[in-house]
């Protein structure tokens, strides 16, 4: 029963990801897509958490943390790219 619910939750997450994927593909603007990807990442965090419960293993908890970090880094990179076209500035004045 519990497992069924967990799997159901996973299906929900997948549906959400699918919807977000639609947003990534369709846009219309770049920030839309970036946000969608960010959200996919965040949803994946949840999904990984659920899978860990299903498999009852603690091996993936690092992955959760890492994914959180990386989604953040990714979003920063995207936003900087969208805003300035450059990710790494040469010096502080630009």
């Amino acid at each position: 029963m519990k497992e069924t619910i967990l799997l159901l939750a996973l299906v929900f997450f997948m549906v959400a990801i699918a919807l977000l994927l639609y947003r990534v593909i369709v846009g219309p603007s770049m920030p839309d897509r970036a946000i969608a990807l960010d959200t996919i990442g965040v949803n994946l965090i949840s999904a990984i958490a659920i899978v860990s419960i299903v498999l009852s293993t603690k091996a993936f908890l690092e992955a959760i943390l890492i994914l959180g970090i990386l989604a953040f880094i990714g979003t920063i990179a995207f936003s900087k790219y969208i805003e300035r076209g450059v990710i790494v500035d040469r010096n502080g004045d630009s």
């Binding site: 690092e62 890492i66 990710i87 500035d89 040469r90 502080g92």
Partner: protein, 140 residues
């Protein structure tokens, strides 16, 4: 156009600290849990990359004045060195060995040469990652 990055920079200071800690943790936990030289190195490297993204080349370089090419080279040297060490003990190349050694304060610890090897790996990963990002960003 100067864009105000105060919020970002404030948060990143904390986040980078977490990332670096996590990286070190992953590096050391590698032998028994997920992690290891590669992942540790990658996480540490991406932490540094995050710094570059939030700040800029000059600022970060002032704080970390390394030649990352040499860091990478050093890493390879460490990895190969630990591998070659076995030859001098008449063991096959790359033989790893481990001992349990009781430190004065820390107590008994499990020490292995794998750790040296992994440290080499991690250093190379960091060095390469940053070299790549830096070289490209510095390009005219």
């Amino acid at each position: 156009m100067k864009i105000n990055d105060v919020i970002l920079r404030t948060v990143v200071k904390g986040v980078v600290f977490i990332i670096l800690t996590l990286g070190v943790y992953l590096f050391f936990s590698g032998h028994n849990a997920p992690g290891g030289g590669f992942i540790g190195g990658l996480v540490l490297g991406s932490g540094i990359v995050l710094l570059y993204i939030t700040y800029d080349l000059e600022t970060v370089h002032r704080k970390m004045p390394f030649d990352f090419k040499k860091v990478a080279a050093l890493g390879v040297l460490l990895a190969t060195g630990s591998a070659i060490g076995a030859i001098f003990f008449d063991a096959p190349f790359l033989s790893q060995t481990d001992i349990y050694y009781t430190f004065p304060i820390l107590g008994e610890k499990h020490l292995t040469t794998v750790t040296i090897f992994e440290a080499g790996v991690a250093l190379t990963v960091i060095g390469t990652l940053v070299t790549i990002i830096l070289s490209i960003s510095e390009d005219e």
